[in-house]
């Protein structure tokens, strides 16, 4: 296959960037999208040119490092698939492919396709945990957890923190990311004591980090490589509202409808 790439190149955070055109020749349809970029980069290096910088690590769709806008779609055209798991058989010979970094106010560009997603870590730091220090935990089977609750918590916990939901959102909102963590912990008995306080603090941190508000368009759900449902956003809104209008945010007696 032969493709024409239009790739966002930007030397550094404060430098202006722009799209540059590259030819990707002799591409096998069995290659992953990142292997296609590797091939292009190796040819650039052989010519002594600076290769395209992009984040990647596990290349099996779980670490959440990779992510780029491919023809304007976060992680590209295949549903439920991170960029590293996208294969070139999805494209046609002769296609032109536009590749850009995540675009969101809260994710400043560092270089080319590499952005700073530290804001997501700080949202977790604001409350995305159960406050138990190591040691002293009781036997793991002491609190039975209904299987369906555990399964639903796992559905939410599958988030890989790639930031595609933010990049896909017109408002640059991190609601899907945040609600996934709130739901994962809020659905389990271990997460109950801090449930409402957690909702208040994580939502507040989203605002501090300049993520936009959620208007329930659902673009995030479409872009999510783990197909996390926007139902979790409703859950977050419910917990947040409850915590905001009552004084019992610390007590954990909230009504879980």
């Amino acid at each position: 296959m032969q493709l024409t790439l239009k790739v966002w190149r930007q030397r550094g955070p404060d430098v202006e960037g722009g799209l540059e055109e590259y030819q990707a020749a002799d591409i096998s349809p069995e290659m992953s999208f990142l292997e296609m970029l590797d091939t292009v980069n190796e040819r650039l290096i052989e010519k002594g040119e600076v290769p395209i910088a992009f984040d990647h690590d596990c290349r099996e769709g779980i670490c959440g490092s990779c992510g780029m806008m491919i023809d304007g779609v976060a992680h590209g055209p295949m549903k439920g698939t991170a960029t590293c798991q996208l294969h070139m058989r999805t494209f046609k010979d002769g296609d032109t492919v536009v590749i850009e970094p995540w675009r969101a106010r809260a994710f400043p560009v560092i270089k080319d396709l590499v952005v700073d997603r530290g804001a997501l870590d700080r949202i977790i730091g604001a409350g995305g945990y159960v406050s138990v220090s190591t040691g002293g935990a009781k036997d793991g089977n002491i609190i039975p957890v209904p299987k369906l609750d555990a399964d639903r918590a796992m559905d939410a916990a599958a988030c890989i923190g790639c930031g595609a939901c933010v990049a896909a959102c017109l408002n640059g909102s991190a609601s899907l990311f945040t609600s996934a963590k709130l739901s994962h912990l809020g659905l389990l008995p271990q997460g109950q004591p801090e449930r409402y306080r957690r909702a208040l603090k994580m939502v507040a941190q989203m605002d501090i980090e300049s993520f936009g508000g959620c208007t329930l368009y659902g673009e995030c759900q479409e872009a999510c490589p783990k197909e996390i449902s926007i139902d979790f956003i409703s859950r977050m809104n419910r917990d947040f509202l409850y915590a905001a209008v009552t004084t019992s945010a610390e007590s954990g007696v909230g009504d879980d409808s």
């Binding site: 069995e30 290659m31 690590d57 270089k111 590499v114 159960v130 299987k147």
Partner: protein, 640 residues
């Protein structure tokens, strides 16, 4: 003068060693803990757990990772599960059995004391993770579910779908973020450790390159923990993440830390086969699939070109079930990998290039129904289909062994301290618990045991037992280490040759896979020992690293790592050549039984081979730590 390698395993009966040791260790007064600074390099299960726990205890912690966030560490990719001797299934499990299975699985090349402690701690790990909100799989009654894994006849593996590593890591990561937010941990992401700072014989800091600005600076502390993972990427193609590297432990080795059993590498039997030259990494299909999948190849070469469905049942060779009837498809990894290689060498492999065997779920789907199989392995089946474009519910998967884990690593004593005082090593980066072969679902167990429960105790003992004078940033050792890193970085950038870093890495990987992979021989290893230094010389003469050092430069990062792999690969071959026996993942063609099984030599090789750096042009020096077995009898490992 040989190194003094004291294992420091406490005296007393095996079940009491760790308890007694905890009582004997010195404690740091709670109000004094904040006066100590500890550096933790790596944020995976071992590093993330250690950093969070040490901070909870009150120490000042500085944690480093090369990725953009601590949540990306490669522990996240572990699929299958984590072992614990809970005996929830009432199927005869116990601490003693987990201990024995692990020692036997490691082909009797691990320390008894360490492994017993690991089995004891395994239970606390599950409790801790449940308390953190790790969404383990549950039965309908609400209790924790288990599944079976290779090398064990009990069901002791806890799991969270096919994403156990992810969920355990997120538990540790969330604890870490909690401590970062509280101010107990200072996190340095996109920061790579490029050297160890040793002052007066003690590890007192590291040299770090900020990947965004390129700034090279010393970071000083009272103790250093390396939890930087394994070195499987020396093979280029492996199941490791692309960034996984040996640089931290290799630079520590060059500062005097002994490197133990470097040739003990694990080739995992169930990975998706290589598809082409452009391949950048290999993808694992969890071992848990062997619970329900049956491994086979056609009995006759002529049938290999046929579609699998066209090969009649009678013409199939379920070779694991045939050779190892009592463990069958759940034979340990080294054995299953070698068996797959054998049938492919006989010309009975399937798929492109004949390097593949089938992993077939037809029987399981018929027995349990497609829904049940989907529930157990759905995400793995999807991943397989995404990569290969084949539907494993309809046609058998094709799998082939791939490099997955390294049992070798920096030598540590019972306290997880290397022979450099103050330098502690945890998780895959150390050599401690898996001997010559690691059993499935034991890596997560070891990483978390080291990070949550061992280091927070033993590190305190080190700090309380030693008087540590402050080190100035302009101390000669510090200045020299920083200068070394700066020189090396400019050397890499200065070659401006014609070949890419990746091309050198691929070539090294081919040498290692060919001569130091699943089957090794003296002749092959000698060939590799000639080829690697030549390739290394060519690298430093002809590598091309574009861009500059003062910016984000991923080629430069990769170049530094490959330069270290080019040295480490040689040490691995040297170790493999000296170990004139077959054990676990180390299979020497000269040392096998008549039916092709590994033949150990306990009289000559029941020791840890700890290699000591002796200079750039001198061969490494071999030191031996004898392995003493007081509680179990060494036996020929049999899974038949």
């Amino acid at each position: 003068m040989p190194l003094e390698l004291k294992s420091k395993v406490p005296a007393g009966p095996l079940p009491e060693k760790w308890d007694r040791h905890r009582f004997d260790m010195k404690l740091v007064n709670p109000s004094n803990k904040r006066k100590y600074t500890v550096i933790v390099v790596g944020s995976g299960l071992a590093g993330g757990a250690a950093a969070a726990t040490l901070s909870e205890l009150g120490y000042n912690v500085r944690c480093y990772c090369y990725q953009d966030s601590p949540r990306r560490a490669h522990s996240i990719a572990a699929q299958g599960g984590i072992n614990a001797a809970k005996n929830y299934q009432n199927d005869g499990d116990s601490v003693q059995r987990l201990f024995y299975d692990t020692i036997k699985g490691g082909d009797f090349r691990a320390r008894e004391g360490n492994v017993y402690r690991l089995a004891q701690i395994s239970m606390s790990i599950i409790d801790q993770c449940v308390a953190q909100g790790v969404p383990f799989a549950r039965e309908y009654g609400g209790l924790l579910a288990n599944r079976s894994f290779g090398g064990a006849q009990v069901s002791r593996t806890f799991y969270a779908r096919g994403q156990t590593g992810q969920q355990l890591l997120l538990g540790a990561y969330q604890a870490l973020e909690k401590e970062i937010d509280r101010g107990g941990v200072t996190m340095f992401a996109r920061a790579e450790m490029l050297d160890l700072i040793v002052v007066n014989g003690r590890a007192r800091g590291i040299v770090v390159r900020d990947e965004i600005t390129g700034t090279i600076e010393p970071h000083l502390a009272d103790a250093v923990v390396l939890a930087t993972g394994g070195y499987g990427n020396v093979f280029y193609l492996s199941t490791n993440a692309k960034g996984c590297n040996a640089t931290a432990i290799w630079r520590a080795y060059k500062r005097g830390a002994a490197f133990a059993n470097p040739c003990f590498t694990q080739i995992h039997p169930t990975c998706i086969p290589v598809a082409g030259d452009y391949q950048s990494k290999l993808t694992l299909m969890s071992e848990s699939l062997r619970n329900d999948g049956r491994v086979w190849v056609p009995a006759r070469k002529d049938d290999c070109g046929k579609a699998p469905g066209d090969v009649a049942e009678a013409d199939r060779d379920y070779f694991l079930e045939r050779k190892y009837p009592s463990f069958g498809n759940l034979s340990p990894r080294d054995i299953a990998s070698r068996a797959a290689k054998e049938v492919c060498d006989e010309g009975r492999g399937v798929g492109p290039g004949g390097r593949g065997v089938y992993l077939d779920f037809a029987d399981a789907i018929q027995r349990a129904g497609e829904d049940r199989i989907r529930e157990r392995y759905g995400n793995l089946f999807e991943m397989y289909q995404r990569i290969t474009d084949e539907n494993p519910y309809q046609v058998p998967m094709r799998i082939y062994p791939a490099v997955h884990y390294t049992m070798g690593g920096l030598w540590v004593d019972y306290n997880l301290m290397s022979n450099i005082p103050g330098l502690h090593v945890a998780g895959e980066a150390n050599f401690s618990d898996h001997g010559a072969n690691r059993l499935g679902a034991s890596a997560l167990m070891q990483g978390l045991a080291d990070g949550y429960f061992v280091l927070p105790n033993t590190l305190g003992d080190y700090l309380a037992s030693n008087k540590l004078e402050p080190v100035a940033t302009d101390a000669p050792e510090v200045v020299a280490a920083v200068a070394d890193v700066a020189t090396r970085t400019s050397r890499l950038l200065g070659v401006r040759g014609t070949r890419t870093v990746a091309s050198f890495h691929r070539e090294l990987g081919k040498i290692m896979w060919e001569y130091c992979g699943m089957a090794r021989s003296a002749e092959g290893l000698r060939t590799a020992l000639e080829l690697i230094p030549k390739l290394r010389a060519e690298f430093w003469r002809d590598v091309m690293v574009p861009g500059e050092g003062t910016e984000l430069n991923k080629t430069l990062e990769h170049a530094g790592r490959v330069a270290d792999f080019l040295e480490l690969g040689e040490l691995m071959c040297r170790d493999a050549l000296h170990r004139e026996e077959s054990c676990g993942g180390h299979f020497r063609l000269e040392h096998q039984t008549p039916d092709g099984e590994a033949r150990r030599d306990d009289d000559r090789f029941a020791y840890v081979a700890a290699w000591e750096y002796a200079g750039i042009d001198a061969p490494a020096v071999l030191n031996k730590e004898p392995l003493v077995y007081e509680n179990i009898k060494l036996s020929q490992r049999s899974y038949k």
